[in-house]
C-alpha cells in the first residue's frame, strides 16, 4: 500500500483539495483507495458528504480499542473509501503523546489496512507536531502544496529540516505549486523563482480557480464536475507524477 500525505506546516494552501482529487484519480485508475481525513476541520469528510464522526473518538482509536477499518465509510465513488474526521482529532497530539512509541503509532494503525487498499491518502492538519511526525513515519510520499509567496520557500526549508530529523526510512518530498494566479505578476515571478530554486518541484501547477472553489458547494472533486478545467488537468498531471515517483 502506498501512503501519500498532503502536508504543509501552513494552512489554507490547498492540501485538502489536492488530497481529495488525487484520491479520486487513484480510485478511478483502479487503486483501492482510502483517504484519511486527519484534520479536525473535516474538509475532505465534508466534500465526500460523510458525517464527521469517529466512534469513541480519537483516544479510543489511538489506544486501538476500535479497529481503524471499522470506522471506514464508502464514498459515492467506486474504489474510494474515507476515514472520516472527528472534532476530537484536535486532541490527536495529546492522545499520541500518551501512547507507547507515539511517533510510530499512526504507521502501526494503518499497517493492517494494506490488505484492503492499494493507496492511502492522508489529509493532514497544518502543524509541525507529534501528529506531523507520525505522518512522516507512516507516509512514503509527502505532497507539499506551495503557494507562490515569499514565505513559501522558508516554510519548505523548515519542512525539509523537519523531515530530515525523522528516523529513516523518510518519505520522498514532492512539492507542487498551488493556488497560482497567473494574472498576478508577483505569482508569476515567485513561481519562476521557486521553479529555479527547487529542481524537484512537480511540473504540475494547480491554479487558483473558481472551479476549485466550486468543490465546496458541489461537494465533489473538481475532476468529476469540471474535468477540462485547468485545475483538473493539473491534478491529473500531479497524480501521474505521484505514480511515477512510486515506480522509482
Amino acid at each position: 500500500m502506498r501512503v501519500v500525505a498532503a502536508y504543509n506546516i501552513k494552512g489554507g494552501v490547498g492540501k485538502t483539495s489536492a488530497a481529495v482529487n488525487l484520491a479520486f484519480l487513484g480510485a478511478r485508475d483502479g487503486y483501492r483507495t482510502l483517504i484519511w481525513d486527519l484534520d479536525p476541520q473535516g474538509g475532505a469528510t465534508f466534500l465526500f458528504r460523510v458525517r464527521p464522526r469517529v466512534k469513541g473518538g480519537v483516544r479510543t482509536l489511538v489506544r486501538r480499542r476500535s479497529r481503524l477499518a471499522a470506522q471506514v465509510k464508502s464514498t459515492d465513488f467506486d474504489n474510494l473509501d474515507l476515514l472520516p474526521a472527528d472534532f476530537s482529532y484536535r486532541n490527536l497530539d495529546l492522545a499520541l503523546d500518551q501512547a507507547r512509541r507515539p511517533t510510530r503509532r499512526l504507521a502501526e494503525l494503518v499497517a493492517p489496512l494494506s490488505d484492503h487498499y492499494d493507496l492511502l491518502i492522508m489529509d493532514c492538519p497544518p502543524s509541525a507536531s507529534l501528529v506531523s511526525e507520525g505522518v512522516l513515519r507512516a507516509a512514503d510520499t509527502l505532497l507539499v502544496p506551495l503557494v507562490p509567496a515569499t514565505l513559501s520557500l522558508r516554510t519548505l526549508d523548515q519542512l525539509t529540516h523537519f523531515v530530515g530529523q525523522v528516523k529513516p526510512p523518510r518519505p520522498r518530498v514532492l512539492p507542487f505549486l498551488s493556488m497560482v494566479d497567473r494574472r498576478r505578476r508577483l505569482h508569476r515571478d515567485l513561481a519562476a523563482q521557486l521553479r529555479g530554486q527547487l529542481p524537484h518541484l512537480a511540473r504540475a501547477e494547480v491554479p487558483a480557480s473558481s472551479a476549485v472553489e466550486q468543490m465546496g458547494p458541489r461537494r465533489a472533486p473538481v475532476v468529476t464536475f469540471a474535468p477540462r478545467a485547468p485545475a483538473a488537468v493539473a491534478y491529473r498531471d500531479l497524480w501521474q507524477q505521484v505514480l511515477e515517483l512510486g515506480e522509482r
Partner: protein, 527 residues
C-alpha cells in the same frame, strides 16, 4: 468500496423504478441514472486459472461510447473493485486478450498476474442487459446503498429463466442501510433471493473454451482395450480443444498443451498399444509422430522467447534482450506459418479422424490381448516401465555421455505417463512415494537436458546472428553471458543426479512399485 457480498434477487418479469419506489418508500430517497445498455463478459484463462484462484473478472462495456470497466471480485478477500479496461476496438467480438494489454499497469494487474501467468484471457460467458442504477440517498445526498437492476436482452436463454437481476451493493460503513433495504425487497412477491450472478443463473452463457470431459470412472475390472481407448479419447479431446488457440495464437500454452496431448497419445500407443488392433495403432503412431514434429520448431522458439523475456529463465539484461526478441519473433513467425498450414492440412484432418476412430468406444471384446482387466495390466506395465528406467540409469557414472541421461529421461517420461493414466486406480502411499521420487529425478534430468539443448540453440543462434548483418553485436554478446549461466545450471543438475537416481532406484522404491497392483496380487519386486 463495494462489499463483494452483494445481495441478489431475480425475477421472471420486469422490475421498473416505479415498482422499486413503491416497495422501498416511504422514508427512502432514491436517485436513478438513465437506463443504459451494457454487455457483460466474464473472462478467464482456457484452464480457468482465475476461477481456481477464487477470482471473477468481468468486462462491462456500455453501448454508448465510454470507458469499458473491469470488475474484479476476490472471493477469498471478500472484496470487489473496478478499473478502467483497454479492450481495443472490438470488445464484444473479441476472442482473447493479453492481460497487460487489457488491464494496464496498476494494482489490478498485480493482483491478476500471478493467477493468469502467461495465459490469455478469453470470454467464458456473455450477457447483454438494459441496466438501471439506483442510489439510496441520506439527508446529505450521500449514497448509502447502490441498487442495480439488470434486464437481460437478446435470445440468450429460454423464457422460463429469470430475465431480471436486482443487486443490492452494500457500501462499507452503511451495512444497516442495505439490510433495511433488503428486508423491504424481500416483501416483493416477484423477487426471489439468489447468488452467483448471471453465469450461475444461466449456465448456458458459459461458452468458449470447451472443457475437456473427465471420462468414465476407471475400475480395475474394465477391459484394457476399453481403458486405452478412453485414454486416447481424453487426449484427443484436449488436443482438439487446444487447436483453435494454436491457430489464433492466443497464448503459447495452447501449443504446449497440444504437444503434451500428442506426446502422451504416442506413449499410450507405445506402452499399451498391443491391447488394440495393430492395423489401427501403427498408422496412428506414425501420424502422432508427424503431428509432434510439426509443432516442435514453434514450441522451441516459444521457449526461447519466454526465456529472454523480462523475468524469464535466462535473466537477460533488457538491453541485451532487446535485439534478440525481434530476431526470435521473426523466426517464430516463419515457423508458425508452417505450423498453421500443417494444422489446416488434409494430413492433419486425416490423422485426427484416425485418432477419433481408434478412440471410439466399443463393446467389450471378451477375448484377445485387449480383454485383460486393466487392474492386472496396469501393475505389470508400470513395473516394466520402472525396470526399463532403472536399467537405463544404473550404469550412468559421473563421466557418462549426456546421451545416457537423455535416454533415461525418456524412460522416466514413459513411466510418468503410465502413472498418470492409471492414477485413479493407484491412489495410496506407494503410488505417491514413487511419484515423488520420479518427479525429483525428472526435474534433475529436465534441468540437465534443457540447459544443454538451450546452450546448443544459443550457439546456433549466435552463429546465425554473426552471419546476419541486421542482428547486431550486442545480441551475440548477450548470448555469451547466458551460455555461462546455463553451463553452471547444467553442472549443478549433473552433480545432483547421483543422489536423485539413488533414491529412485533403491529397494524401498522398488518395493513401492511391486505394491502397485490394483485389484491383483503384488508383483515380484522389479530388478
Amino acid at each position: 468500496m463495494r462489499d463483494a457480498r452483494d445481495l441478489e434477487f431475480v425475477s421472471r418479469g420486469p422490475v421498473g423504478l416505479e415498482r422499486l419506489r413503491e416497495a422501498l418508500e416511504p422514508g427512502v430517497r432514491l436517485a436513478a441514472s438513465p437506463e443504459h445498455a451494457v454487455t457483460h463478459q466474464w473472462l478467464d484463462t482456457f484452464d480457468r486459472r482465475l476461477r481456481r484462484a477464487g477470482l471473477s473478472l468481468e468486462l462491462a462495456t456500455e453501448a454508448d461510447p465510454g470507458q469499458p470497466t473491469l470488475l474484479l471480485e476476490d472471493r477469498g478477500a471478500l472484496s470487489a473493485w473496478s478499473a478502467p479496461a483497454r479492450p481495443g476496438d472490438r470488445a464484444a467480438g473479441r476472442r482473447a486478450w493479453r492481460l497487460e494489454e487489457l488491464v494496464g499497469a496498476g494494482p489490478m494487474l498485480r493482483r491478476l498476474a500471478p493467477a493468469v501467468g502467461i495465459r490469455a484471457l478469453l470470454p467464458v460467458a456473455e450477457v447483454s442487459t438494459r441496466t438501471l442504477e439506483v442510489r439510496v440517498l441520506d439527508a446529505q445526498d450521500k449514497t448509502t446503498v447502490r441498487l442495480v437492476v439488470e434486464e437481460r436482452v437478446g435470445p440468450v436463454a429460454p423464457d422460463e429463466l429469470p430475465r431480471v437481476r436486482v443487486v443490492v451493493g452494500p457500501l462499507t460503513g452503511y451495512r444497516r442501510h442495505s439490510d433495511r433495504l433488503v428486508a423491504r425487497l424481500r416483501r416483493l412477491a416477484e423477487l426471489e433471493p439468489f447468488s452467483g450472478g448471471w453465469p450461475a443463473l444461466l449456465p448456458s452463457l458459459a461458452k468458449t473454451p470447451a472443457e475437456v470431459p473427465a471420462g468414465p470412472r476407471l475400475t480395475p475390472g474394465l477391459e484394457s482395450a476399453q481403458v486405452v481407448r478412453q485414454i486416447l479419447a481424453r487426449l484427443l479431446a484436449a488436443a482438439v480443444a487446444n487447436a483453435p488457440g494454436v491457430v489464433a495464437d492466443w497464448d503459447t500454452e495452447f501449443l504446449h498443451d497440444l504437444r503434451v496431448s500428442v506426446r502422451r497419445a504416442r506413449s499410450a500407443l507405445k506402452l499399451l498399444g498391443d491391447c488394440l488392433d495393430s492395423r489401427e495403432a501403427s498408422p496412428l503412431a506414425a501420424d502422432l509422430k508427424w503431428m509432434g514434429d510439426l509443432t516442435t520448431p514453434t514450441r522451441d522458439l516459444d521457449v526461447h522467447l519466454l526465456a529472454v523475456s523480462a523475468g524469464g529463465e535466462w535473466h537477460l539484461d533488457p538491453l541485451l534482450a532487446a535485439p534478440l526478441v525481434p530476431y526470435l519473433q521473426a523466426r517464430r513467425a516463419a515457423a508458425r506459418r508452417q505450423l498453421v498450414r500443417g494444422l489446416r492440412s488434409a494430413r492433419w484432418n486425416r490423422a485426427q479422424r484416425r485418432w477419433e476412430e481408434i478412440a471410439r468406444p466399443r463393446p467389450p471384446a471378451g477375448g484377445g490381448p485387449g480383454a485383460v482387466p486393466i487392474g492386472e495390466l496396469a501393475g505389470t506395465r508400470i513395473a516394466l516401465a520402472y525396470r526399463r528406467a532403472r536399467r537405463a540409469g544404473i550404469h550412468i557414472e559421473d563421466d557418462s555421455p549426456p546421451e545416457m541421461l537423455h535416454t533415461l529421461r525418456k524412460r522416466c517420461k514413459e513411466l510418468r505417463y503410465l502413472l498418470e493414466f492409471f492414477a485413479p486406480l493407484l491412489e495410496g502411499p506407494p503410488f505417491l512415494g514413487l511419484l515423488s521420487q520420479l518427479r525429483a529425478l525428472q526435474d534433475c534430468l529436465g534441468e540437465f537436458q534443457d540447459t544443454q539443448v538451450q546452450a546448443a540453440t544459443l550457439r546456433e543462434l549466435a552463429a546465425e546472428m554473426l552471419a546476419d548483418p541486421t542482428a547486431g553485436a550486442e545480441a551475440v554478446m548477450g548470448l555469451g553471458t547466458v551460455d555461462q549461466t546455463l553451463a553452471e545450471r547444467r553442472r549443478r543438475a549433473r552433480a545432483e543426479f547421483a543422489s536423485r537416481f539413488h533414491d529412485f532406484a533403491r529397494p524401498r522404491t522398488r518395493r513401492a512399485v511391486a505394491a502397485l497392483q490394483p485389484g491383483g496380487r503384488p508383483a515380484p519386486m522389479p530388478t
